[in-house]
Symmetry: C2
Subunit: 294 residues, 2 copies
Amino acid sequence: MPKKMNGPGGGERPSVRELLRVPLGERVDLSAYDTGGTPGGTWAPQSKAVGLAATEALAPRLAALQERLFASSTAGDRRRLLLVLQGMDTSGKGGTVKHVAGHFNPSGCRIRAFKAPTPEESEHPFLWRVAQAVPLPGEIGVFDRSHYEDVLVARVRELATPPVIEDRYGQIARFEQALADEGVTLVKVFLHLSHEEQRARLLERLDDPDKHWKFNPGDIDDRALWPAYQEAYEIALERCATDRTPWYLVPADRKWYRNWAISSLLLEHLEELDPQYPRGDFDVTECRRRLLTA
Amino acid sequence: MPKKMNGPGGGERPSVRELLRVPLGERVDLSAYDTGGTPGGTWAPQSKAVGLAATEALAPRLAALQERLFASSTAGDRRRLLLVLQGMDTSGKGGTVKHVAGHFNPSGCRIRAFKAPTPEESEHPFLWRVAQAVPLPGEIGVFDRSHYEDVLVARVRELATPPVIEDRYGQIARFEQALADEGVTLVKVFLHLSHEEQRARLLERLDDPDKHWKFNPGDIDDRALWPAYQEAYEIALERCATDRTPWYLVPADRKWYRNWAISSLLLEHLEELDPQYPRGDFDVTECRRRLLTA
């Protein structure tokens, strides 16, 4: 269970995990969540300047915990963390990888962006390519898109029949349960962006020729399907969440809040794992003596 | 060919590539190179404070070029860069990944640390596992150890017969030539550490219980084989270098110089590649019009 933490004012405050976790066993109504919000009240940053500084302050703590997690794996600890990022185009999945995962030592990260399946991937069950990208013990994994696309775009664009889609929710839930059993801490984040903010971000890409490579005219067509996508997300967030594999909803219209919130989520999960440097199983005095003469 | 660059004094100066490249077609004598040196004279940093600041100043340029390289690959550019790190234990391979590769966007990096081959890897030709880890177009790859271990530890510890080892030099040279033909810019770096500095670094690990996980008593045994390793490196540096796949020798006793030198090497190679953002092949005005109503 998330620990209570002390806020800037010194008082007990809820964890960011409690704050952003999508409630279990309820209908999810995305329209009830403010995409431009900065949940957390007085103990969460409420301005860009404060948010950037607060996120920067988390970086060394994240890096230190990552090193411990990796070190611990060298002594047989099987635990690892997997951040799953989902959200509409321009919601900030890539930006999160750059600005949040960028704080970690890259040698301990396993980052994978999932595109439309290749012909080889399509020959396999939909979870095949995902299982291969799971972080190894001690690693921090990041999925930029994931197996959820198989119940999101696949549902909206009817890339599979309704019974096939229907079956996938259960498969996903069992797959994630198995990951959790193997020591994978899943941090599943839905980046909640507004229709208006997406328009602004797409226009920004159009206005800068150096960003045209990120622009796909098909992204405009997808906007016509916005309500269908929101509905598909609501179903996925509702049906593929358990106490051990919850969803977090991060308001994504403000990039600085998004980076702070996701950094905080990772930090709280790593702190709960509390990985320890393993003790050496060698004779330190003897090794020192040998080294001094070697 | 490396471009001439302007030094801090404004005058023309040699590139770091020219400065650190191991000459081709000559016997390599590692004892002739100072492990504690800071080659570059007045235009290279000569103190830790200056070195750290100079390296920090390169970071945004490296990140910008990486983004261009990645962007260019989305339009079919097959080029990519592969940094190969070799050196004795504690010479700073891991530190380079953390401090140099850490400046890049992790989503465009493919980092691989090679350990002793697994049983499966041993069943395959020695280049098999290496070929699988080559960066994709647009990516920056880093090898922490590499195929060179198969002519280094394998030679010193007699893990293969002399004729097998002998054959591998040619295989490595042809493999690297093939990579270059496919658009892979190889930056092969030998981290040149002194026997004394290694002792100091191993003692440091022993003295700090939080670093015991990095310590292996077998590393002390390897010190007895130091001359054999140096000789194996000399042979590898001599026989596996061409104009397109040269070796760079980086003095590694000073970490700040090492990070500056390798950052500079990467920057010069990326600047020579000079990747460009691809132009969009869509009608910007029409897309903007559609977006404003979508």
